[in-house]
């Protein structure tokens, strides 16, 4: 990445800002960020090429008597940042507590996460060319495809971090994504499916995309024109790996974020250390997953990313922490302190959350169901960390009758109490089914960060209806 502020200059100014604060506060850190990227979108009418991610800025954070004070600016000049640091250091907390932040050892890192084909080495015309080709392939497959939207996006995020403990870190994380949405129409009915791929990856996700996957999405969109409305009621269900991942993240993972525990806002507290699922059920959050959309080298308060089990052998194993929650709960930070950007507050956030493989084949899961529903191609999920409710939506589904997969169903919603849902899981699929998807997660209504989620097919019981 080339810029008018070099990485070394960013480090130097971050260290100076930390030094300007350290005498007056218990702890302080500085996070400088710069993103670059290109977005290319095409449908039947419009072609859009833009650089929505060309942003840089810095956030300064100070801690005193149990309270954080922070300020952010886009102006990364020495005069502005140091003035801000001096002003921040003198803050008087609005309320006071005796919570001391745990001290962590200083460490250094300067690393760029490597990808196969760096997006910066592919010019924008070539990116548009690939997008046009994909669009043309999709609309050319079948005359019932009345429109198709192809969205390509790449970003390179550089973050430089320094704190009063002496850590000085820099990481460069590239992320690339591709989405294809063929809209099918016949006799007045319209529907679509979505092909979505991405992660901490480069342009190879476009170049390596196989024609058969594009065709499958087109065929799936067309099949949804004949899809039946889903049945309404409480059924045995099978979730595909994408749905499983959204369950692991939205329904279960959010309740494991330790800031919710500190706020007394998690239904999971009484279950800590107890068995809540069957013995082959393992759920983890893993910021080191190769290619995972939520992967990085260190979190936004300088803690190295790692793999953390939240459910192991069916037992609620642990919670996910940032530094404050870890200090308060006498736990280790788990590398889950993340910000959407320098403009947003840091919270406990997940990284790549997934259900580990079990020993069931999909055929075995289906054969044991007399009547049920399979949900596939997740489109959204919503958390309910206090009350443990869950909502997952899939673009597509299938009826399962007498041990066989039957007719296609259109958009479905799955709801259930999370403890009841987990207790009802009785099968997890084999390793060869394992898959993860790239997504974006909000903390409630805002603060969106890139995440990955996935796993294997799982079987459970839940309420199902139209999505």
């Amino acid at each position: 990445m080339e810029d008018d502020v070099s990485s070394e200059q960013a480090k130097e100014l971050s260290i100076k800002a930390v030094e300007a604060m350290e005498k007056d506060v218990e702890y302080a850190d500085v996070l400088y960020e710069r993103t670059e990227g290109v977005s290319v979108a095409k449908d039947n009418v419009e072609e859009r090429v833009s650089t929505p991610a060309a942003v840089r800025g810095v956030v300064l954070r100070a801690y005193k008597l149990g309270q954080w004070r922070e300020a952010s600016t886009y102006d990364f000049s020495g005069a502005c940042v140091l003035k801000m640091a001096r002003r921040l250091a003198g803050f008087e907390p609005l309320s006071k507590s005796a919570v001391k932040l745990q001290e962590l050892s200083a460490w250094k890192l300067d690393e760029e996460l490597k990808v196969k084909i760096s997006p910066s080495e592919v010019d924008v015309e070539e990116k548009l060319g690939h997008v046009r080709k994909l669009h043309s392939d999709v609309v050319g497959h079948d005359k019932r495809i009345v429109n198709a939207r192809v969205l390509y996006s790449d970003t390179v995020l550089e973050r430089v971090f320094a704190n009063t403990e002496g850590s000085v870190l820099r990481q460069v994380i590239p992320r690339t994504s591709l989405q294809i949405i063929p809209i099918a129409r016949e006799s007045g009915k319209m529907d679509y499916d979505i092909l979505s791929c991405g992660g901490t990856a480069g342009f190879e996700i476009v170049k390596d995309l196989e024609e058969k996957h594009v065709k499958e999405t087109v065929d799936s969109s067309i099949s949804l024109l004949k899809a039946s409305a889903p049945p309404s009621g409480h059924f045995r269900v099978i979730l595909d790996p994408g749905m499983t991942g959204t369950f692991a993240h939205e329904s279960f993972g959010h309740g494991c974020e330790a800031d919710q525990i500190v706020r007394k806002r998690s239904y999971l507290v009484p279950y800590f250390g107890k068995r809540i699922g069957f013995e082959k059920l393992n759920i983890c959050d893993d910021g080191t997953l190769p290619g995972g959309n939520g992967s990085f080298l260190f979190d936004d308060e300088g803690v190295r990313s790692k793999k953390n089990y939240i459910l192991k052998s069916g037992v609620l194993e642990g919670f996910l922490h940032e530094r404050f929650s870890a200090s308060l709960m006498n736990a280790e930070p788990t590398g889950n302190g993340r910000r959407e950007s320098f403009l947003r507050k840091l919270f406990v956030r997940m990284t790549n959350t997934y259900v580990e493989p079990g020993d069931y084949s999909l055929d075995e899961m289906v054969e044991e169901i007399d009547y049920g529903v399979m949900l596939a191609h997740c489109i959204s999920g919503m958390e309910d960390p206090l009350a443990g409710g869950m909502e997952l939506k899939s673009k597509k589904g299938y009826v399962i009758e007498k041990g066989r997969v039957g007719r296609v169903l259109s958009t479905l919603t799955l709801t259930e109490s999370v403890p009841d849902f987990i207790a009802s899981i009785d099968a997890a699929g084999k390793r060869e089914q394992f898959d993860t998807e790239a997504g974006t997660c909000g903390k409630g209504y805002e603060d969106f960060v890139p995440v990955g989620d996935g796993g294997v097919y799982i079987r459970a019981k839940a309420v199902v209806g139209q999505g």
Binding site: S50, P52, Q67, L94, S95, K189, H234, A387, L412
Partner: protein, 465 residues
């Protein structure tokens, strides 16, 4: 703003003839609570960014490129212009005509309290919030956020247009917990408004606390089809993404709109506007994000679809006037609080404020005249599918209606339906919810980019146990 001058100077040096520039400067103050404690005080949080669009006329098409950034270094501005020029050279659109200078309507979008001293407003509101929350012994906050936004915007283009505005926003989000033994229940409200006085916290907090307490007694509904009264906040999430999508000029041009002019789109009681000049509504402004005056357009009148919405691009494609609907909105409909990054978003035709005309019944009358049904206060996500207008969501806070009165609280299970008419696999037309309206309240509320009353629908699918 000095940014405009710097960018225009480089545009002249680069001999770029057709362009527009959007510059935005935002300042925020924010206090976040953990239970009754102040967890973090944030501010000033400042950002200033710009977007430059370069337009290139081609034989029968037009190319449009956009570059954005938030660094005013000349090298960065030039790189941004390079991106925009490259985009204009390689992309193709059917047509585009830059808006010309125009007379703008007077619309109120700024709160003088926030523009004059936002830091104090945030501090005062946080204190008021804590004080109101401490009045209850049984319902406790788990977290809270209060935040002000002060945003200045300038748009100029090569046609000589120059438009400026200053606007404000206030965000509040909190989660209220009720607890009895091992039972937990929550009400999790969020409001995003223009003025701090629009909050009415002294009225809202007791109502929100009651919802949390009542949900402790909630049960999962049974699977049934029944009458359902929707609160404005639910409609505020569903309507812009469904009706709002199908009334766009872009949806018509692409052949994916379900609406046809002069045809029935809803019940006779239903009149819907896109009103971009509604004082203090979130989508209001004197001009849209391309510089065209915003206006009020009738989308549905007495159930009949009347008009579509246009930005400069689709106005040119249909050879009609723009309705002032060129909007920079985030890709995620939930990311509405990102007004500080609006400059980096692409303008496209989008609704401003979806306004549903109020009816003639009070909410009490609507409930009293419902023999059997459900009153719906909050759903889990309220998300809907813009293309099919299908929606389905978990019920978070609701009540059964029995013999004209609110009775048992409900939580869990789900509500499902289509907003507009749909077809089944045999080609039979199924009536959408908008065609099954049986009551509209006389008072409307601002909810997101929507101003809507309570609406009662018949025959709504509920999935439960």
């Amino acid at each position: 703003m000095s940014e405009i001058d710097s960018i225009q100077k480089i545009l002249r040096e680069e001999r770029i003839n057709l362009w527009d520039v959007y510059v935005e400067r935002a300042e925020e103050y924010d206090i976040q609570l953990r239970n009754f404690d102040v967890e973090a005080v944030r501010g000033p949080i400042t950002n200033s960014g710009y977007a430059v669009r370069v337009i290139k006329q081609k034989d029968k098409k037009v190319g449009i490129g956009i570059g954005s950034g938030n660094s005013l270094q000349p090298a960065r501005i030039r790189r941004c212009l390079d991106t925009a020029s490259t985009g204009a050279a390689i992309t193709e659109f059917p047509s585009y005509i830059l808006p010309k200078p125009a007379k703008y309507p007077g619309v109120k979008v700024a709160d003088p309290k926030i523009t004059s001293d936002a830091e104090t407003v945030v501090k005062d509101k946080a204190e008021e919030l804590i004080s109101l929350l401490k009045r209850s012994k049984t319902v406790l906050p788990t977290f809270g956020k209060v935040r002000t936004y002060n945003v200045s915007t300038v748009i100029s283009n090569s046609e000589g247009l120059q438009a400026e505005k200053e606007e404000t926003f206030f965000y509040i989000e909190l989660a209220l917990k009720a607890e009895r033994g091992s039972q937990l229940a929550e009400y999790w409200p969020m409001l995003f408004v223009r003025r701090v006085d629009d909050l009415h916290l002294d009225e809202q907090i007791p109502k929100w606390m009651k919802l949390a307490e009542d949900t402790l007694k909630a049960r999962v509904p049974k699977t049934t089809k029944t009458t359902v009264v929707f609160a404005p906040q639910i409609l505020g999430n569903i309507l812009p993404n469904t009706v709002g999508f199908h009334c766009l000029g872009s949806s018509v041009f692409k052949g994916i709109s379900k609406l046809k002019k002069g045809e029935q789109a809803g019940s006779r009681e239903l009149t819907v506007y896109d009103d971009g000049v509604f004082d203090y509504a979130l989508g209001s402004s004197a001009f849209d994000d391309e510089g065209t005056p915003q206006s009020k357009t009738t989308i549905i009148e007495k159930g009949i679809h009347k008009s579509f919405l246009y930005d400069a691009m689709y106005a040119a494609a249909f050879n009609v006037g723009s309705t002032g609907n060129g909007q920079k909105l985030p890709a995620f409909s939930l990311a509405f609080t990102r007004v500080d990054l609006r400059y980096s978003m692409l303008p496209s035709v989008q609704p401003t404020n979806i306004v549903v005309e109020p009816g003639d019944m009070s909410l009490d009358e609507i409930i009293a005249t419902t023999k059997e049904g459900i009153y719906l206060e909050q759903l889990s996500s309220s998300s809907s599918d813009s293309v099919t207008t299908s929606f389905g969501s978990e019920i978070r806070n609701a009540y059964l209606i029995e013999k004209g009165e609110l009775s048992t609280p409900l939580k869990g299970g789900q509500i499902n339906g289509f907003l507009l008419d749909s077809q089944d696999t045999e080609g039979h037309r199924t009536s959408g919810l908008l065609n099954r309206i049986s009551g509209i309240s006389e008072k409307a509320q601002v909810s997101g980019r929507c101003v809507t009353p309570y609406i009662r629908f018949e025959g709504v699918q509920i999935a439960g146990k």
